[in-house]
Symmetry: C2
Subunit: 397 residues, 2 copies
């Protein structure tokens, strides 16, 4: 009987596995394989291909010219073929979360052997992590884990329900009496309420920093910064037919900033939080840095901690929107109230570098205190993850 | 100033968009395009390709023989090329959530123009929805939305923290006095705590049925049924290096069933729920149906509603595990307590059909009441979504 049962289980799995395999091109090949020396081997079964390359942010960059300026793009490496299996092994890699794609006869594809992918705007790439340094913070480790929720909130200002991601730290459900500080974390152009969680590894970074005693237990709220969209692509009534892109509705015209009290009100009505300025922080990357700059100055009593990560740190001086009127006076009013932390970080190769020089120049002229971090590199997620690991330990102390 | 500002925004987006495009092969092509008559056009830019096909569950099936039996696989259609763009338009399609992949010179790939993908075990396919019928329940509509959370719970029985997905209905946060019934919904072999949410469209189905007044507001708890794994691939300390597959640790040897009171205890300690049998339901697909069968009979006071969706409805008659001892007597004890609903559904082409015939035969012999639904087709998600839309309205009435 036992034998028959075992056979029967085998059948259940085997037929399905065969079906899967045949239908959807599942693969028995291991790719990527992280070797003992932290080199990585990529493999692809493509017997008919003429040329197979891998591109990824672990390969030497190459400069690309565009009508709008130049940038450093990841390089390419050729895979070599044997018995229909193409293969390439990198040099040993340093600790980091890396992205890659294959290019088969000019067609960019995902690695069919790797189900781990992250969407960045309209592109989906495979990912892997080399641990051993700071990137251990990006891993799921054997520590208590917070809860990650996709929540819809009501915005009377925008006249719609909107979706956000909320991280509540481990113990939130059990410690019924404890009230928590809240960190509002904003994405950049082309992003949405999923970006910081997926590309930013926010849940892993918070879980690990809190477990190590380096960060206070806190709630992290990740909104959708496109005021004209209710949610990420595929999560709105437009469904799968809305095509993601850098241009979304309602990005930098003030309505996101004006609606922000709706977010804070929802969070403070529905979560156990300390409802004062000392227990609220706001930060964002690129466009989210721009939003953080403008929200924190327009509502100077709201946030005691402000982080600008590679921010579009720009002013308008005049606009129909009150958020953008008398902006320097708003900054003055904000600093008159002595925020606990104003933190600016940018890469030395970032195309927004000059805007940050100008912002710092104004703060310096006025003698307003702030912390400044200048890192290597440009406008990339590697930097934003690093900034997050550096900013979070400074909050609510 | 305004002009300069506008230019500056354009630059911010343009450089990034160019970079994106070049780096990761983002595409300007629209694919899939759902036409007015619900035919669908697929497009792929692949100037060097010799042959491009699309495979998907909307094409006529073809019988495939394997050493373990035969099954119906989706068919293939050839795309035709003009100026490097390959294209194919289907016949008008009926309402459904469909999956597809491209096959380029023998290599199965995802559609680079479609960021919407769902993982099924170790395979990732693109998806789209044709609405207009039952599949409108699978869409994000303009109705109140519940919250979807990834939560870690403590299992003393398994000696580890484990991850689950929890759906709380719209209004749960606001209606602080209301207590809710709980529906435990279990995945099949190769799945995990994400399967019912991603492939099953559980949040959309619940949102829509509740908004239409066809289902009671309820909490839905989706566990990980592989007792030897703590979470889905990529969500455990093994990280991205654990390869998903049909065979996971601890699937059908009793430990998942034995630990289930840990799940119920966690839910009833941390959510506002009614803590009695009348307000608990359990259902699952395939292996999850097997788990539901065994859990509901081994703990006959726990669940008043039981759903077996294409279940592996099999008995052991003897085993070292108490869950599998004297199984018919357990069934007798369960039915002696008059469960409110015992619901069995299976497709007429399902390879588990006979096991369900045998189960029903026993229930019929004993005169135990149950409801039975026999649908078209086999062991596929289309059926499990349909079963979910039929089972949920019967609960807690």
């Amino acid at each position: 009987m036992k034998k028959l049962y075992t056979l029967s289980i085998a059948l259940l799995f085997a037929v399905s596995a065969f079906a899967q395999q045949a239908l959807w091109g599942g693969s028995q090949i291991v790719s990527p394989e992280i070797n003992k020396d932290n080199s990585v081997t990529f493999r692809l079964h493509a017997p008919k291909a003429v040329k197979v390359q891998v591109t990824g942010d672990f390969l030497p960059t190459q400069k690309v010219e565009t009508p709008f300026g130049s940038y450093d793009a990841p390089g390419y490496a050729d895979l070599t073929e044997k018995d229909g299996i193409w293969e390439y092994t990198t040099a040993p890699l340093g600790p980091e979360l890396y992205s890659y794609s294959f290019i088969v006869d000019g067609l960019t594809i995902r690695d069919p052997s790797n189900v781990h992918m992250i969407r960045d705007v309209a592109s989906v790439t495979n990912v892997f992590i080399i641990g051993g340094g700071r990137s251990d913070l990006y891993k799921v480790n054997d520590v208590p884990h917070g809860t990650v929720s996709k929540v819809w909130y009501d915005s009377p200002t925008l006249g719609t329900d909107r979706r956000m991601t909320v991280y509540t730290p481990a113990g939130y459900e059990q410690n019924r009496k404890q009230k928590y500080p809240v960190f509002y974390l904003l994405h950049g152009a082309g992003g949405d309420e999923e970006a910081w969680m997926d590309l930013g590894r926010t849940a892993q970074i918070l879980d690990n920093l809190i477990a190590q005693g380096k960060a206070e237990p806190m709630i992290v709220v990740m909104t959708n910064g496109n005021a004209g969209e209710c949610a990420a692509p595929g999560q709105c009534p437009e469904g799968f037919e809305r095509i993601p892109g850098m241009q979304q509705r309602g990005m930098m015209e003030g309505s996101f900033e004006l609606h922000f009290p709706d977010v804070v009100k929802f969070v403070e009505s529905n979560y156990r939080v300390v409802k004062d300025k000392k227990h609220r922080a706001i930060a964002g990357l690129s466009m989210g840095g721009y939003h953080s700059l403008h929200i924190s100055k327009y509502y100077p009593d709201m946030f005691d901690y402000v982080g600008l990560f590679s921010a579009a740190a720009r002013f308008h001086d005049s606009s129909d929107c009150p958020v953008y009127q008398n902006e320097k006076a708003q900054i003055d009013a904000q600093f008159a109230k002595n925020p606990a932390l104003y933190w600016i970080a940018i890469g030395d190769a970032d195309f927004l570098y000059e805007e940050n020089v100008n912002l710092r120049k104004y703060l310096d002229e006025k003698g307003y205190p702030y912390e400044y971090v200048e890192s290597d590199g440009g406008h990339i997620w590697r930097n934003w993850r690093i900034y997050l690991t550096e900013f979070v330990p400074k909050l609510f102390k």
